[in-house]
């Protein structure tokens, strides 16, 4: 009897979750639906042999090159991963993030921040942005840096589902936020 209750509960939860996903994904054309889309197809590129080994990748798609940086979608032994590398060396991977399947892009996670942060102090945890870069859903038009007090210090446009900026002003970072085309905040990542 207890087992049957668990099965019924699991089935009900799955049905409700599926209904929710269907409802959201069928809200076509809405700003909300665009947070689930990643429309840049990119083009296949050959991986550098040592990158294929180190990142356990079997294939790569070059999504875009921006600010001297290359942005890739990888198929790896750890699932689909989003990666960056030097723009002058196609197929050479410098870093990656492999989110759990189905989590990016999404309304709750329209931004994959692969920015590099730094500090030269051993005291406290204040950081500066060394370089801004990452991936964003179709519904994200701009990525902005906020100071811990909430002041916007930098805005970077998103194009082809990526954003990148070298030479970030040396201000302390509080969060990185995703803005839609109307300037409304759709996600904020504390840093």
């Amino acid at each position: 009897m207890r087992g049957r209750t668990i099965v019924v509960l699991l089935a009900s939860t799955t049905l409700l979750a599926s209904a929710g996903v269907v409802a959201v994904t069928h809200a076509h054309g809405s700003p909300r639906a665009a947070l689930f889309d990643f429309s840049t197809a990119g083009k296949p590129v050959e991986l550098a042999p040592n990158s294929a080994r180190a990142f356990r990748a079997s294939s790569a798609t070059l999504v875009a090159v921006r600010e001297g940086r290359a942005f890739y979608r990888l198929v790896t032994a750890d699932g689909v991963c989003f990666a960056t590398g030097p723009g002058t060396d196609a197929g050479a991977i410098g870093g990656e993030e492999c989110p759990p399947p189905g989590t990016f892009p999404s309304e709750a996670r329209p931004l994959l921040d692969l920015s590099v942060y730094e500090s030269d102090s051993h005291l406290g945890h204040a950081v500066r942005a060394f370089r801004l870069e990452g991936f964003a859903a179709d519904g994200v038009a701009t990525v902005a840096l906020r100071s811990p007090s909430g002041r916007v210090s930098v805005r970077v446009p998103v194009s082809q589902n990526v954003f990148a900026l070298h030479g970030v002003p040396a201000t302390t970072v509080g969060s990185i936020v995703a803005l839609d085309s109307s300037g409304q905040e759709v996600a904020s990542l504390g840093r």
């Binding site: 990656e96 759990p100 590099v116 811990p148 969060s175």
Partner: protein
Amino acid sequence: MRMRLCSIVAALAAAGVVGAIHADGAQAGWCWPSCSGHALLSPGTSTYNGCWYLGGEVCSGWNYWGVNGIDKQCYPRCDLYGYTQALVLYGFENGSTIRGRFTDYAGIFRIRPVDVSMGGYLRAQVNWWPYFDGRLSHTSLLQAASI
């Protein structure tokens, strides 16, 4: 029914461990806490080997590292999108700078020194990190491995 549920849970747990070993551990030169397991990274954690921060950090010894990777688990919990409420910085450090990427999501993450514009003799590092927006940054459950 209970037996079947237990079997599913056991299989998922085993898959997680195997996945972690395969992340980088099989050929790693440095693993934390080991090449076959995960441990909690909290503000009080340390490897006591002279890392950038006295607490909240685990780091390798000095070496010419090629890749630093972490396998961050759903701990203390994950929402549907993998958000863990536990922020970490992972990357590298030298004598003058600590540099890396942040994440508070579960998943596999790898980074090369070149992606943080560093090179030469470095330490691979993973740090517990506080939020600056008032949220509490929880303890992470993760494995780190570098080659």
